[in-house]
C-alpha cells in the first residue's frame, strides 16, 4: 500500500504508547499525591492531559484518515482499510481512541492489507491496542508459573475471557462455528502470556506486547476439538497455530465474506454473493487483495439491483469529495460527533453497524439535514469552497444530472442547492 498522503507529523504506535503511559501513570501519581485536595488534583490532571497531547492526537488521526480518503491514489483500498479498522474495532475505553486507535489503524491494519487475512488477524490480535482494549494482559493461567505462585499464597489465578471470546466471535469464526464455553476458556489459556512486557520500566504497565511464558498455561490445550501444543522453546506458537486454523475455518470465510458484502454491496447479501467471495478466498489461500477484488466484482455485478444506505462518515466524505474539497479541517471530531459516527469511538468491540436500520432514526436523519445545511453555508463552511460551481459538480458526479439540476431549481441560491442535494436520496444511497 502506498504511503499516507498526509504531509504533517504522524504519531507512531511507540509514540502513542509513550504518551498513553505518561498520561495514565502521571494521573495515577497525581491522584495519590493530591488525595486530600480535589482542586489541586484537577489542576494537575489538566496539565498532564495538555502535556500528553491527548486531544490533539485524535484530531490529527481523523485529519490523516480524511486526508487519505480524499487524496489517496488508491481510494478503494483506503475504503477497505476503513472496513478492516472497524472489523478489528478498538473500543472507546480510557484514552485508547485518542492515543492507540489511530496508530493501530495506520501500522497494524493498513500495511497488512496486501498480505493474507490470517496475517492480519495475527497482527491485530497481538497488538498493544487490542490487548489493552480487551484486557488480555490481565490473564494469569492457573497452572502457569505465576499462577502456581499465587495458589501457594492462597490466591486464585484467573484468565480474562474477553479477548479470547471476541477473537472467535467477532474477528474470525463467529458463533456459527459452534464453540463452547470450554473452548473460550481453553483459548484464554492459549492467549495467557500475551501481555505488556513491563519494559522499559518507566512506562509502568503500559508497554509493548511480548509473549511471557510465566503467565501461560503449559501443556496441550484443546479448542474446537483440536490440540495445540508448544513447539520449540516458547509456547507463543500455540496462539499463532490457533489463528491459522480459525482463518481457514469454513465458517470464518463465510462470516467475513458475508460481512464484506453487507458493508460494500447490500444490507442483505445473497448466498451467491457470499459464495463468490468465499471462492476467491479458497483459491488464493486468503490473500486479501483477491478477496477485495471478489467483493468489487460482486458490487459491480449487482450495481443496478442494489443500493446501499451510506454510513454518516462515508456520506460526509462523499459530499466533500464531489465538492472537490481536499483539505480536511481540524474540527472533524466535532463534526463526526454531530453525525453520530466517530470511527475512533465504537462503544462495543463489534464496531459500527452496516445496515440502514441501524443508521436510521428521526434524530439520525435530523443530524444529516442540519449538517448539510451547515456545510452548505458556503463562505462560513470550511468543507466547501466558495468558488464551487454547483452545476458543474452535478454534471461531473451524477448520471441523472439534468433531472437533479432541474429539481434544485434555477432560482435557488447556492446555499439552498447544497442544502437540498446533500441529504437527498441520491447522496444518502450509493
Amino acid at each position: 500500500m502506498q504511503p499516507l498522503t498526509w504531509k504533517g507529523e504522524i504519531q507512531t504506535i511507540k509514540q502513542g504508547l509513550e504518551r498513553y503511559a505518561f498520561l495514565r501513570n502521571e494521573t495515577n501519581a497525581a491522584r495519590k499525591k493530591f488525595k486530600k485536595s480535589p482542586s489541586k488534583y484537577q489542576e494537575a490532571q489538566r496539565q498532564i492531559r495538555h502535556d500528553s497531547g491527548v486531544e490533539l492526537s485524535e484530531r490529527r488521526t481523523l485529519q490523516i484518515r480524511f486526508d487519505s480518503a480524499l487524496n489517496s491514489a488508491q481510494p478503494v483500498l483506503e475504503r477497505f482499510a476503513m472496513f478492516w479498522a472497524n472489523h478489528f474495532a478498538i473500543i472507546d475505553k480510557d484514552e485508547l481512541p485518542q492515543l492507540a486507535t489511530g496508530p493501530f489503524h495506520r501500522e497494524i491494519i493498513r500495511p497488512n492489507l496486501t498480505g493474507s487475512y490470517e496475517n492480519l488477524v495475527k497482527e491485530a490480535t497481538t497488538s498493544w491496542a487490542m490487548i489493552e482494549a480487551l484486557d488480555n494482559g490481565e490473564s494469569i493461567a492457573p497452572n502457569s508459573r505465576r499462577g502456581l505462585e499465587m495458589k501457594m499464597k492462597n490466591l486464585t489465578p484467573t484468565v480474562n475471557e474477553n479477548h479470547a471470546r471476541e477473537l472467535m466471535e467477532l474477528h474470525t469464526i463467529s458463533p456459527a462455528a459452534g464453540y463452547t464455553q470450554e473452548d473460550v476458556i481453553q483459548l484464554s489459556y492459549i492467549m495467557a502470556g500475551w501481555r505488556p512486557a513491563r519494559k522499559p520500566k518507566k512506562l509502568g504497565r503500559f508497554t509493548p506486547i511480548k509473549f511471557n511464558p510465566e503467565y501461560h498455561q503449559p501443556g496441550k490445550l484443546t479448542v474446537l476439538g483440536k490440540e495445540y501444543e508448544q513447539r520449540g522453546l516458547s509456547a507463543e506458537n500455540k496462539l499463532l497455530d490457533a489463528i491459522k486454523d480459525f482463518s481457514n475455518h469454513p465458517e470464518c470465510k463465510k462470516f467475513i465474506s458475508f460481512k464484506l458484502c453487507r458493508h460494500f454491496v447490500t444490507d442483505n447479501p445473497t448466498d451467491a454473493m457470499v459464495g463468490h467471495v468465499v471462492k476467491a478466498w479458497n483459491s488464493s489461500n486468503g490473500a486479501l487483495p483477491e478477496i477485495h477484488k471478489a467483493v468489487l466484482e460482486v458490487a459491480f455485478e449487482n450495481l443496478s439491483s442494489t443500493s446501499k444506505y451510506q454510513n454518516p462518515e462515508i456520506w460526509f466524505l462523499q459530499a466533500m469529495n464531489i465538492a472537490g474539497s481536499k483539505e480536511p479541517s481540524f474540527d472533524i471530531p466535532e463534526k463526526l460527533e454531530i453525525l453520530g459516527h466517530n470511527p475512533l469511538r465504537p462503544i462495543q468491540p463489534n464496531g459500527f453497524p452496516d445496515t440502514e436500520a441501524e443508521w436510521l432514526s428521526p434524530e439520525f436523519l435530523i443530524r444529516r439535514l442540519t449538517f448539510a445545511k451547515n456545510m452548505a453555508n458556503v463562505g462560513r463552511s470550511y468543507d466547501i469552497s466558495r468558488k464551487l460551481d454547483i452545476e458543474n459538480m452535478v454534471r461531473k458526479n451524477f448520471s441523472n444530472s439534468d433531472e437533479l439540476i432541474e429539481w434544485m431549481g434555477p432560482n435557488a441560491s447556492r446555499r439552498e442547492k447544497l442544502t437540498l442535494l446533500f441529504p437527498s436520496n441520491w447522496m444518502l444511497f450509493a
Binding site: 467477532l170 462495543q348 432514526s361 445545511k373 437540498l420
Partner: protein
Amino acid sequence: MIFNRRQFISGSGSLFLMGSPLWNARAEQIQKRNIVIISLRGGMDGLAAVPYIGDRELNKARPQINVSTKNKLNSDFALNPRLRTMHQLWKEGQAAIVHATSIPYTERSHFEGQNLMESGSTEPFTTDSGWLGRGIDAANLNGLAVSLPMPLILRGESNPDNYYPTKMELPDEMLMQKIASTYQSGGLVSKTMNRLQNRSRFLQEKAYGYEAFNLADTAALELAREEGPRVAVFDINGFDTHATQGGEEGRHADNLAKFDRVVNTLKKGMGPAFDNTLILSLTEFGRMVEQNGGNGTEHGYGTAIFMAGGLVKKAQVLTDWPGLKKADRFEGRDLNVTIDARSIYCSAMAACFDSDFEKLRREAFFGASLQDYTTELFKV
C-alpha cells in the same frame, strides 16, 4: 423545587406549576399507563446490584469487589448503596426486584445476548423487530427511544420516534418538503422523514447534554403528556467490567448510579404521571459469581431486573433463589436462572398496555411458554 402528588391534589402546589405545559388541570384524569425500558448494556451484575446476604458464599467468591449490604431489602437481599432513588422508592412501595432471572441464553456473547434481549427471539440475529415494537403494534401505541440510533427492541411496524437533540437548525419547511420528495415512498428514510416532520414541540427543543439523565427530562415531559408516547427506551452502557469492577465506588457501581439518576429524573419530571408508570431494566446476562484476578468479573448468566414506579404492586424481591454454592451454580460458575426474564417483560407489557398476556405472548414472544406474573408484580 420539591413536588409530590399530595401537594398537587390539594391544590397548594399548583402555583409552582404555572407555565408547565404538562401539569395542566386535566393531569389528575390522565390514566395513560407508561412503560420505560432501560437497557443496561454489557452484562449488569445482579450480584453487585442486589447482593445476596443469606449466606457467606458471595463474600468468599468476591473478596475485593464486595458491596456494602447496609441497605437491606429483606433478610436475604440488600441493595447497592449507589441505588439511592431505588432504595427510597422501595421504602415507598414503588420498587421491586426480580432475581436469579435472565433471558434463556447461555452462550455469554454480548452481541447475541443483546440481540435476543431486544428481539425476544431465541435465535440470535434472525428477527429484525423487537418484542416491545411488536407489543406496541399489537396494542396500537407510540414509542420513543432516547438514543441516537433506533434500538432493535422498539423496531416494528409502528416506526417509532426517538429523542437525541442537536443544537443545529433544520432547513426551512419548503426545503424539507423538497428533500422529502426524493425519498422512495414507503422506504425507511421516507417514513422516518415523515415522523420527524410531525413531531410534538417538546421533541423540537434543543440539546442540553447527552447523558441519559439529561435526556430523561424531556422524555418525562413527553410521557406525562396525554397524547405523548406510552413507551420510552433508554440505554446505559459500560456494565462489561472484566477489570477493576470495584465495589461501591468502582465502574460498575458508577453505572448503577447512572441508572438510578435516570429513575430519579423521571420521577421528578413526570410528577403524578409517575404513578401510572413502570420502569423496567434489561440486560443481556449477569456476571460470574467469582471475581477474576483483575478485580473484575467474567460474563455469566443469572442477574436481577429492577422495577420502579407507581405500577409496581409492592416492594418485593420475586425470586426462587437457586443458591450460590458451586453445585447450585449454572455450569459451576454463574448464578442460575429460575425465572425467564421474558415472562417478566411480557407481564410488564400486559400491565402497561392494558392488554392480554396471552395475546402479547403470541405476538411479541412468538408463543414461547412464559409464565404470567402480571397480577403478582403489577397494579392492574
